[in-house]
């Protein structure tokens, strides 16, 4: 069953001059960790705000946990947790007070809300700062508190907008581990521009660009489908790499070559033919080849390929 589904979701601002979402279609399976990738201004935050019921779509439909988001009811909100891109909380409250308050907003009585707050403070590494005012927290602590408050109701679906944005490497590791542990129990919808985080923790990836889904697939499948493997030839000298590129272009081969420093790259779905041709050229011109490798594309390659392809 789909935990999140949208069909032709459109959101316009400034009387249609800005098209933040332009027919977004989504299907996210229950219990999966979905990485929502896209360049700045692609529509990631707008999509999350529509899906959490914070803003209304201009047109299109979406369902979260089986509930329509167009007319968000408390029932829909009781099933979701949300961490905004730049979380802001009441600075006069202590971390513990905020979590108890959040729990009570979900209908919990004070005592269970307090117990849950203590659990979450421990889990987020904020137990020692529990009685300090949030106004005195660092950016990373606020981010951890944000994740804790998003989990306060043990939600079915968790929306995280750039959850690792202001975390140090240790904090980032902890948060990604935590997200990984939620797999199977909670559907996680995580927007980010840190590709490494997506590769580490997500099992499905969607790439959004100009308000539309450019691609959706499993993390490994995405590379296979959208970015072909690369033949890398590293030379001892950048001059050799340039000479190789010139010779390759002169052959009129259909696979284009790119050069970066002392490395030449050929990208094609079937590289066996290109590899033989490349080796012949290297041997024929006596170029000093240091390394030859066929490398599968990374998520970054897919991202660049798709986003540059649509712009």
């Amino acid at each position: 069953m789909d935990a999140i589904r949208s069909s032709g979701l459109v959101k316009h601002y400034e009387r249609g001059k800005v098209r933040a979402l332009d027919g977004l279609d989504l299907r996210i399976a229950e219990g999966s960790v979905f990485g929502f990738l896209g360049p700045n201004g692609a529509g990631k935050t707008t999509a999350i705000k529509v899906l959490t019921g914070l803003i209304e779509p201009t047109s299109g439909e979406a369902w979260v946990a089986g509930q329509p988001v167009a007319d968000p009811s408390p029932r829909l909100r009781s099933q979701i947790g949300y961490l905004s891109q730049e979380p802001r909380f009441y600075t006069w409250m202590t971390g513990r007070e905020l979590l108890v308050f959040a729990g009570e907003l979900f209908g919990a009585r004070r005592s269970p809300a307090s117990r849950r707050a203590d659990e979450l403070l421990e889990m987020s590494g904020l137990a020692r700062a529990a009685k300090r005012r949030i106004g005195g927290y660092s950016g990373g602590m606020v981010q951890r508190l944000g994740i804790a408050q998003a989990l306060v109701s043990s939600p079915q679906i968790l929306f995280l907008d750039e959850p690792c944005a202001s975390l140090d490497p240790l904090g980032r590791r902890d948060v990604l581990e935590l997200i990984g542990r939620l797999r199977g129990k909670t559907t996680v919808f995580m927007s980010t521009h840190i590709l490494e985080d997506v590769e580490r923790v997500c099992d499905t990836v969607g790439i959004i660009d100009h308000g539309r889904m450019a691609a959706t697939a499993g993390t490994s499948e995405l590379a296979r489908r959208f970015a072909p493997p690369v033949l890398e030839l590293e030379f001892a000298d950048p001059g050799d790499a340039a000479a190789f590129a010139a010779a390759w272009t002169a052959t009129g081969h259909r696979v284009a070559v790119t050069v970066e420093g002392a490395t030449g790259r050929l990208r094609a779905s079937d590289l066996s033919d290109a590899r033989s041709e490349a080796l012949r050229l290297v041997a024929g011109r006596n170029l000093a080849l240091v390394r030859l490798e066929i490398r599968s594309s990374s998520l970054e390659d897919v991202f660049v390929h798709l986003v540059e392809g649509t712009s």
């Binding site: 408390p74 909100r77 905004s84 909380f89 009441y90 009570e104 979900f106 209908g107």
Partner: protein, 254 residues
Amino acid sequence: MSGRPFAVLLRKELREQARSMRLLALGLVFVFFGLASPLLAKLAPEIVKMVGAGQNVVIEIPEPTALDAVTQFVKNISQIALLVLVFLTMGAVVAEKERGTAVFVLVKPVSRLAFLAAKLLAFWLSTSAALILSALCAYSYTAILFTPPSPAGFSLASLLLLLHILTFVTTTFLFSTVARSQVAAGVLSFLIWILLASLGGLGAGSDFLPGALLSAAVTVALGGATPWQPIVGSVAIIVLSCGSAALAFRRWEP
């Protein structure tokens, strides 16, 4: 609007007012004017005489009465204390929108109406508490310095004064909901205050304006009849402001 989230939100609002010193500031200002008003009324002739003596002018001023104390109280609360109140209320909603804390609450199972209603009720409660305290001070001091007015009359006058300031607290709250900044909310609130005050000269229609509550308060304190027109007019402004705020906030997109 479900009861439990509303109660949680209301408790949070009252706690915020206490922690941010809003309650203390409000209490101090209102108590000060409650105590100072009868005293100023009592000392006014002496002060005027002293000023006149310096200029070799003899000014005859009738002996002050409880009427002067009540007039002074109504004037101070409806002007200076209300000014402070507008300053303390103009950020009620817009500050949460600016800071981003509204989003934290609105994504929880809480209706936007409950969010607004809890805030407004908290402002009404703290304002009412401050005025009651102020009125108690004013009445006690008036009783010490003058022949006191009847407690019932003074209570009724205080209620009319409360309705007057709650009307402006509510219009300020409306502007805090629709404006994009605290400054804009404050400017709009003062403009509506000035506009309603300047309409006071308009024939029969002016009887319905909140300003008419002030003259009514003085009359009622000394046993006069309670006019219904400014009560109806003020309640209408409050209802209209609440409805407009709810509509505007429903459409707000963070």
